[in-house]
Amino acid sequence: MNEKERLSGYKGEALAAIRKAEVEIGDLIRITRNSEIHEGILIPRSEYGDKKHVIIKLKSGYNIGIRITPNTKIERTGKGTKPTFTQPPSLKQNPKLPKIAIISTGGTIASRVDYRTGAVRPALTASDLYSVVPELTKIAQLDAQILFSLLSENITPKHWTEMAKAVSNHILKGVDGVVIAHGTDTMGYTAAALTFSLQSLPVPVILVGSQRSADRPSSDAATNLIGAVVAAAKVPFAEVSVAMHESTSDSSIILHRGAKVRKCHTSRRDAFKSVNASSLARVQEQRIIMLTEKYRKRDLTRKLDLKPEFNEKVALVKFYPGMNPAIVDWYVKKEYRGIILEGTGLGHVGSFFYEAIRNAVEHNVVVGMTSQCIWGRVGMNVYGQGRDLLALGVIALEDMLPETATVKLMWIFGQTRDVEEAKTLLKTNVAGEISSRTLAEK
């Protein structure tokens, strides 16, 4: 199978029939089977499709699948034209506007559709972005960089390191803010990672994604992107935050603190929530409304403290009834440096787990406790089990999110090999990941 055939998605009988007819994707073809005749443009097949059907786009615009049988004949009636993704005219940057860097890591924030073949192409360059989201021309001068094209579930701590370095480079060049386009699935983890690795930020770093793909008119991508760029250009704070829809409406974008944000819904536009903390600000009609008074002020003279290293030998372990404690032994044997437990309620695991934890602590593994309740603070002095765990050497991690705690411990072991220092750092509020007061929800 050649490259062209591989891209077509066809396999088996369907591929054989196409080969025999010497037709390519985009060609106008006629398929005859008994008395039935169908004409249309040959369309690529999804890689999950079966081997028996050929898809054509009819003149009416509809796609249909036609089964290939021994007496099906395919002939070419016209040569296809390749989709022409013409470059949009480059728009002039307004030198009076703030300079904003946009780093793409994957997750399309803007895209265009070729209605003829159904192909969707992401818009990634600055001029692409301007042409697809023209509002941006009036907000900022963009410097667009394509760092990776990764689905967010494929992002690893190594990528966090690269992202942190890329942000640092832009800041050294003197931008007024940085926007990072990111797939939403693991955007919360990345936000936490950047919060720890980009310390003493002079300008804001805003992560943005979309819950509805950018090729659809109802997508939240453009609104979120505009909100993120406005935030990067105008917010008074210099912190890592996530910009997404505040509600199901398109009316406002909310900015969450990087260490306190979590994706809490599989599909809604407002999937991201600030947990155990107030959101930072709201962007409405391109204006910033601050929601907290406690933040680090934007200051271009401040020097960024870049600490981009992470150590992947840290595990997140969620406890459940009847769980086999051998998993903890396995991590110890594999020389993991730290384990974050996601315990029940106020921070508990069953007593059948104690032995494994004792063993881990004895092997110098740092063990921290968070809660699978997500909202609230662990309280390990309330019940006997909690006090038992503390006695075993488990560290109570206050109101830190389990994901943030995991990222933080990876980052700690990227900075130090000293276990005692690591324990101290884990308990200390480094970048807003621990709040001393739990406030009632608004």
Partner: protein, 633 residues
């Protein structure tokens, strides 16, 4: 004047959209139902036209987007979930809807596709929360017989119904209710072979009949909608979207033909006057000063708001703008519709209709001077803020230039009287791309065979069978066929042994009469109807009791037939009781019987029936009364 439709080359194609009566919507498990109450949930969205590499952005849609159009969606939890809100991916295609569509397609001899691919058709007027309508072709190349003619069916598709507009536009916000969004719709598209206004209705009727034959077509206003594309030889291709009443179809076609013929005439006349498109200039004159002292109320209001009056000269258009194209509809109306759409103004003024509306001859003269109009010219003006006024006049220029060319291709919306108004320019080639969230569905030969083997009867066959099998006359059989109870009719007759004419008359005429009296028939289940007739068949209830029972059941939901009988005291009277009662009535009316002799039967009959309505069989009363009268004489 009669129009020779053949001669002018009339070609009409129909697209029939019929809602299906499925248990859930097309892409989620919500109930396909509308709600009347205040919405529980509202949310505000914008739809951004997606850039296409080949097709251009729909100009009307892009215009609305730039104007900052926002859509306020209204929802209720019982009829919408996150899928309709575009907050959750669609669930797989509703299989029941596919089967119904296949049934309809096979009834029209169409060829089912081997694999169904759901497409996204870009629609960004707000009627779909996603910005596209999900639609798929189920079968191609069918036909329906209409009289002697065979009308080719291009395709039979299955698509989701759109959200419905509620209320008027306020500022830049339009309201849509998403209860209707996602209700399955069959779309049947004919080739443009219809040649006359009446034929349009006949074809629609024939297709509607086939769709109803599936037994799964929804009924009631708004459940079936027709789109028409109409063209004549020298005219344009005009699409009229969403005619809800069948009766209106011939009129809509007739008026559209009139309109197109009128426009062709206008174009000829303008050209005869030496007009070319480039003679109309986009030059707008601020004529606010001309109307400083005006008595015209509309203009006064605008001036109070500090708005401007902008004017435009249309060379050689004098007396053209007022030419009638449809009843109460002139070229000026077309221009005003355009101005309203593109400029969001209330309307326009033009010199063909002036002086009037409080505007004096003197003001008209000054207006002419201000724009340097000659005798043969017309002047159009509008009062609004300068941006809207300019957009409005630009639209008028556009429309005037089209008038020189002939009939513009466009999409129009029907009005209740059969005339139409401008809706938007015709979208370019349908912009469709695959709905990747829904896996394709294969239709196997087994599927087709299974459905083919149990196809319902076509309306004509069924009519003949109803007449033969149930001994119904043609009229009653036709009424049963058209009613939504045609299946129930057969079940009841078979189960209850009640006379078929009685059942048929009840399910058609009696129910219609009850509905007129505002009895909510829809609240009564088929099961309840069967139960009632079961009791009549078993001699426990008389048919005269039917209206009262139905009325009671409609007002007492969740109550049974037995309770209705008890509550209404409609338990049938035994013959012994009846005999005693008749005896008593005769006793009380001795004097009357002696005076009237034979004639007294009718009077006594009505006395007894009035006392016992719904509790006795009239034939039995008559029999006993006759016997007893004989004895009494």
């Amino acid at each position: 004047m009669e129009i020779d439709y053949e001669k002018i080359g009339l070609k009409v194609g129909l697209e029939i959209h019929q809602q299906l009566d499925t248990s859930t919507k097309l892409f989620c498990n919500c109930e396909p139902k509308l709600f009347k109450e205040e919405p529980e949930i509202t949310f505000l969205r914008r739809l951004r036209p997606t850039q296409s590499e080949l097709g251009q952005i729909d100009p009307a849609a892009y215009f609305e987007f730039q104007k900052g159009l926002r859509i306020l969606y209204e929802a209720e939890r019982a009829t919408s979930c996150l899928v309709e809100m575009d907050e959750e991916p669609p669930h797989p295609l509703n299989r029941q809807a596919v089967e119904i569509t296949l049934t309809a397609a096979l009834l029209m001899n169409a060829e089912p596709v081997d694999e169904i691919h759901v497409m996204r058709k870009a629609v960004i007027d707000g009627s779909n929360t996603t910005g596209f309508q999900r639609t798929c072709v189920i079968a191609l190349h069918g036909e329906v017989k209409v009289g002697q003619k065979t009308v080719p069916i291009l395709h039979v598709s299955l698509e989701e119904d759109a959200a419905r507009k509620t209320g008027e536009e306020e500022g830049n916000i339009i309201h849509y209710r998403i209860d209707r969004l996602g209700i399955p719709l069959i779309e049947v598209a004919t080739a443009p072979v219809i040649k006359s206004p009446t034929e349009a209705k006949e074809v629609a009727l024939a297709i509607g009949g086939v769709l109803r034959a599936t037994g799964k077509a929804k009924r009631g206003l708004g459940t079936i909608r027709q789109d028409l594309n109409i063209s004549i030889t020298d005219g344009g291709l005009v699409e009229i979207k969403g005619v809800q009443e069948l009766e209106l179809l011939p009129l809509v076609v007739k008026y559209e033909v009139q309109r197109q013929l009128g426009l062709v005439k206008i174009s000829e006349e303008l050209r005869a006057r030496g007009m070319g498109e480039d003679i109309i200039e986009k030059e707008f004159f601020n004529v606010t000063d001309v109307f400083k002292q005006t008595k015209c109320r509309v203009l006064c209001k605008a001036l109070e708001k500090n708005q401007q009056i902008l004017a435009l000269k249309l060379p050689k258009f004098r007396d053209i703008i007022k030419q009638e194209l449809m009843p109460g509809f002139r070229l000026g109306t077309e221009m005003a519709d355009r101005a309203r759409f593109w400029g969001r103004v209330g309307g326009i003024f033009h010199t063909d209709e002036l002086p009037a509306y409080g505007i004096t001859a003197d003001e008209v003269e000054k207006l002419g001077e201000a724009v340097e109009a000659e005798d043969q010219d017309a002047v159009v003006f509008v009062a609004d803020n300068s941006e809207n006024a300019e957009d409005a006049l630009e639209a008028v220029v556009e429309r005037a230039r089209e008038a020189i060319k002939g009939v513009p291709d466009e999409t129009r919306a029907p009005k209740p009287d059969g005339t139409t108004r401008y809706m938007r320019p015709r979208p370019g080639a349908a912009r469709m791309y695959p709905e990747t969230d829904i896996p394709p569905i294969q239709i196997t030969e087994d599927d087709v065979e299974r459905i083919s083997s149990k196809l319902p009867e076509l309306p004509k066959q069924k009519l003949e069978r109803l007449m033969k099998e149930y001994k119904l006359n043609k009229k009653l059989a036709g009424q049963v066929l058209d009613s939504k109870y045609s299946l129930l009719f057969e079940t009841i007759v078979k189960e209850s042994k009640v006379s078929s004419t009685t059942v048929a008359a009840f399910l058609t005429e009696t129910l219609k009469a009850l509905k007129r009296d505002r009895v909510e028939i829809d609240k009564i289940s088929e099961y309840q109807f069967r139960k009632v007739f079961g009791k009549i068949g078993a001699g426990e209830l008389v048919k005269e009791a039917l209206p009262d029972i139905i009325d009671w059941l409609s007002k007492n939901e969740n109550k049974g037939v037995q309770e209705a009988i008890e509550n209404l005291g409609l338990k049938i009277m035994s013959e012994i009781e009846l005999r005693a009662l008749i005896g008593k009535v005769i006793e009380e009316n001795r004097k009357l019987i002696q005076e009237h002799h034979e004639d007294s039967f009718g009077i006594l009959m009505s006395i007894v029936m009035n006392k016992l309505r719904g509790r006795v069989n009239a034939a039995l009363v008559s029999k006993i009364l006759k016997e007893k009268l004989k004895v009494a004489e």
